[in-house]
Symmetry: C2
Subunit: 164 residues, 2 copies
DNA sequence: AGGCTGACTTAGCTTCTGAAAAGTCAGCTA
DNA sequence: TAGCTGACTTTTCAGAAGCTAAGTCAGCCT
């Protein structure tokens, strides 16, 4: 199998540069642990409470507390007080836009696990609510073409292209 | 922010089931460490040799050796001997189809990092070789609709739907 | 024959991730 | 007032992941 991505411009050859601003590495500095990923999974599945996270992820309470604190500090989850009638004030954790935007990464991992690590293609599937069709994570270009890894060029980002 | 994914059928309510066959968790059992992800990044960028992985990822030799061995054992990389004329036999590591299929997960992390962790939108960008347009990782359904996280339904997989 | 290089391994250490078990504390309920 | 529950914290410990520094070993090159 050939290297899927072709380096272009000043990125070629690979020896000529260092990946020190690599945003994969930066992302992994924010969510690196299994427990963080799985807590986010549960947040996508709708969990909001401390005990639910601990139990459904299957991790201990100290780890749950540490991970939730980190995810709140990093801005992926928001902690807020709420109260149901007749109950006392409780805390709940909810995804922020920043946390919710990790959705494709989570489901890309799931899709890979479905394909390569489970004999039945995985226990659950994602469907598009409007049309009921199965949802996949894919690479697609601005012109609408589905892109396979070996059609990718890597280029230094042009400054004006920032997506913000 | 509401829970983005709606649980359907026997998955609702969340208390009624455990995610013990979750393929996100299984995927994380295979590639969990920062060093594993970054070695895969370098493999996508075309690195094949031990020293290159160590140096370009910025990790020590013992870690490089351990991670490469694990990735080979898991079938994400393939180790093979090769020889250039006048040189002695060396080893090189190359992505297998299983490893290459992690591409969307890697670039989904990169895209998230580009959006949320770098003021300039990240140092590099992916382009479609054929048309030059920027490539993104996205959720899309079988009918071709781009799907946002809050339009997702999660359902137990129907047996006949296995993708194999 | 001796040196160099690539590809590792070994030893010793620190830090991080995680578990189990037990304790804390506020505030509603009985 | 006593108990219970949710949401944690504290303590203690094991094991994984990382580092540096040094050693090994094969084989081409001089």
């Amino acid at each position: 199998m050939q290297a899927p991505v072709r380096l272009t411009g000043s990125l070629d050859p690979r020896e000529g540069w260092t990946a020190d601003r690599c945003t994969i590495a930066k992302a992994l500095d924010v969510v690196s642990t299994r427990s963080a990923f799985l807590i986010l999974r549960e947040a996508f599945y709708g969990s909001t409470r401390f005990d639910d996270f601990a139990q459904r992820v299957g991790i201990s309470e100290p780890v749950t507390a540490a991970r939730l604190r980190e995810l709140v500090d990093e801005g992926l989850l928001e902690r807020e007080d709420y109260r149901e009638p007749g109950q006392r004030t409780r805390q709940r954790y909810q995804l922020t836009p920043k946390g919710a935007d990790l959705c494709p990464a989570l489901f890309a991992l799931m899709q890979w696990g479905d394909r390569w690590l489970d004999e039945h293609g995985g226990p659950v599937e994602l469907l598009h609510r409007d049309c009921g069709e199965r949802v996949t994570v894919e690479l697609r270009c601005g012109a609408g073409h589905e892109v396979s890894p070996d059609e990718l060029d890597l280029a230094r980002r042009r400054r004006a292209d920032s997506r913000h």
